[in-house]
């Protein structure tokens, strides 16, 4: 049973467009929701993270929207650039007890010039 479901599996966006990746979770004990960005040949790297006490967090062109009641969160990449082409993973974790990250299945984003 996959606890964090991510969509779409792949996404093609034109340069300057908005990329949107969605995730849904089931475990209400999760209290930390990071997004990781992975380039080919590299490991995942933390991009941005949010906690459920806020509905939105923005860092530059990257924004997380969080809907606690719906148990959903999404990543928005504004003004998408070819350099944003990568695989994006949403994840969730508890602050107490089990500290492992539970990941979504990943979204391969391609930004066309």
């Amino acid at each position: 049973q996959q606890q964090v479901k991510q969509s779409p599996q792949s996404l093609i966006v034109q340069k300057g467009g908005i990329s949107i990746i969605n995730c849904a979770y089931e475990n209400t004990a999760f209290d930390y929701f990071p997004w990781y960005q992975q380039f080919p040949g590299k490991g995942p790297a933390l991009l941005i993270a949010i906690r459920p006490d806020v509905s939105e967090k923005k860092e530059g062109r990257f924004t997380i929207s969080f809907n606690k009641s719906a148990k959903q969160f999404s990543l928005h990449i504004m003004d998408s650039q070819p350099g944003d082409s990568a695989t994006y993973f949403c994840a969730a974790r508890r602050d107490t007890g089990r500290r492992a990250l539970t990941f979504g299945s990943g979204t391969r984003l391609q930004v066309q010039p």
Binding site: Q2, Y36, G43, P44, R98, L101, F103
Partner: protein
């Protein structure tokens, strides 16, 4: 500051053989995690060390997998004997827990294991 390093970057072995993966965490990071991504699927947790102790090994798939972290520094993950379904990318991550409950996990580049 050096990041998390993993060795080898790629390993191709025959079914039934043994493979040992190594992870060197960021210096000073007490937490060390192993994860695995099977082709196209989610990255799945395998186990978590705090220093040299296994804090959580609930993700280990079976007893063919053995992880160690002697001295609380680098860690090894041995697969013996390897099966076809063990193929995937094995990631190591480390973190420094700062008491508040929030710790960023820094990932290594992974080891791509192919079992033929």
């Amino acid at each position: 500051e050096a990041g998390v390093t993993q060795f080898p970057s790629h390993s191709v072995i025959e079914k039934g053989q043994t493979v040992t993966l190594r992870c060197d965490p960021i210096s000073g990071h007490d937490n060390l995690y192993w994860y695995r991504r099977v082709m196209g699927k989610e990255i799945k947790f395998l186990l978590h060390f705090v220093k040299e102790s296994k804090q959580d090994e609930s993700g280990m798939p079976n007893n063919r997998f053995l992880a160690e972290r002697t001295g609380g520094t680098y860690s090894t993950l041995k697969v013996q004997p390897a099966e076809l379904e063990d193929s995937g990318v094995y990631f190591c991550a480390s973190s420094y827990l700062q008491g508040s409950g929030t710790d960023t996990q820094y990932f290594g580049p992974g080891t791509r294991l192919t079992v033929l």
